[in-house]
Symmetry: C2
Subunit: 207 residues, 2 copies
DNA sequence: GTAGTCAGTGAACAACTGTTACCTGAACGG
DNA sequence: CCGTTCAGGTAACAGTTGTTCACTGACTAC
């Protein structure tokens, strides 16, 4: 479905991408709330009015970026949860996948980290809702895991929330460390150690 | 030092406070980057030009807010670290103090959480620098603790970073839960459980 | 008492903002 | 081929922005 590869449609998609990319690159050192519609269109090489052909306003542009960013994150998390092996290996896989995500889509990740607590309610809520889903999935995967057999629901959710938040911590650490290679590997080490410590706590947990 | 209670000086301080408070209340649902100088002065009931008698620009206003917010946080953390008793009690004390801080200065706390990864470099860096100090202090306190005797430096810092970040997680959770009382106590429970889990991991850690 | 300091004001500026109504021309369906 | 659709452009709008300058008048130091 939605092949839609007419000449017009492809051009339309192109400008839409240009708008999203322009916004994304402008957001490297600013926040969505301070980003003007005209700035985006200017950076995209398009007339201001063209914006309205694609988005109702900046809020909508923002929520689209949320969906884009979290689509890849969602995929990443599913990979981790589906991964076999002991918790140690799973932790490594998690950190590795986050690292890849930061390397391949730094702008998207930065956007998520920044706007999670940012000043645009619509975007904030979109991220929060998606993260709730993510936490639930994590919780479900955790539930069907020998280590946490017999845990009550509250404890499972508190752990999954901790893990999701730790994911963001790690992503943020990678972003600020993404300049020097030694900082990068240090961040990797820290994230892995923290996951190991959390896992240790999990093993010795008594509901 | 700096008694300075002339009539003029007190009035000056009053407007300065008015500016800071106006900004703070305006920042309840927006970010610093999107906050205009004129908006602040308007909310403070003062002419736009009066702003310059107190701050060079919005960045400076921002860093002053950072100092204010982190002064209380600094005090809070010192109290926790100085607290005697086992780790369980210390965790309880930590959560309780954060809760108090959120209740007594919600705007400051929200400001910190939002601008930590926010769109104003100067403010972001000011917060990061202060948090580094905080993490170091935590690390020092952790170092002189029987539980973590013999840990190497890297492991201590990874733990203190985790704890500082967890503090922010908790503060953020309290902020979003501050409407309904049952959400509040649930947030308290989650934070406590997470600290307990981390502590368990700490006990069974092997450097 | 008097001269000086200085927090706050008022008016003006060029630049920029989001949004509207209307126009253009290339791709489209039949 | 021809009428229609529609992505994008132009021009204009009323507001708002940060910053400057000169000015006022209550406080201060002497």
């Amino acid at each position: 479905m939605s092949a839609e590869t007419g000449l017009r449609e492809t051009q339309r998609r192109r400008t839409r991408r240009a708008l999203l990319d322009a916004a994304l690159s402008e957001l490297a050192e600013r926040s969505l709330g301070s980003l003007g519609l005209r700035e985006v269109t200017r950076a995209a090489g398009v007339a201001p009015t063209a914006f309205y052909r694609h988005f109702r306003g900046m809020d909508e542009l923002g929520t689209v970026l949320v969906e884009e960013a979290l689509a890849s994150l969602h995929g990443t998390v599913r990979e981790i949860l589906a991964a076999t092996g002991d918790a140690e290996r799973r932790g490594e896989a998690a950190v590795r996948l986050i690292a890849e995500l930061v390397r391949s889509r730094p702008a998207h990740v930065r956007f998520l980290v920044r706007e999670r607590h940012g000043g645009v309610p619509a975007v904030r809520e979109a991220i929060a809702a998606q993260l709730d889903v993510l936490a639930d999935e994590t919780g479900a995967a955790l539930g069907s895991d020998p280590v946490s057999a017999g845990w009550d629901r509250d404890d499972v959710t508190m752990l999954s929330r901790l893990l999701v938040d730790h994911m963001f911590m790690t992503a943020s650490a990678f972003l600020t460390a993404s300049l020097r290679e030694e900082d990068w590997s240090a961040a990797t080490g820290t994230a892995l150690a923290q996951l190991r410590l959390i896992h240790l706590g999990r093993v010795h947990w008594a509901s």
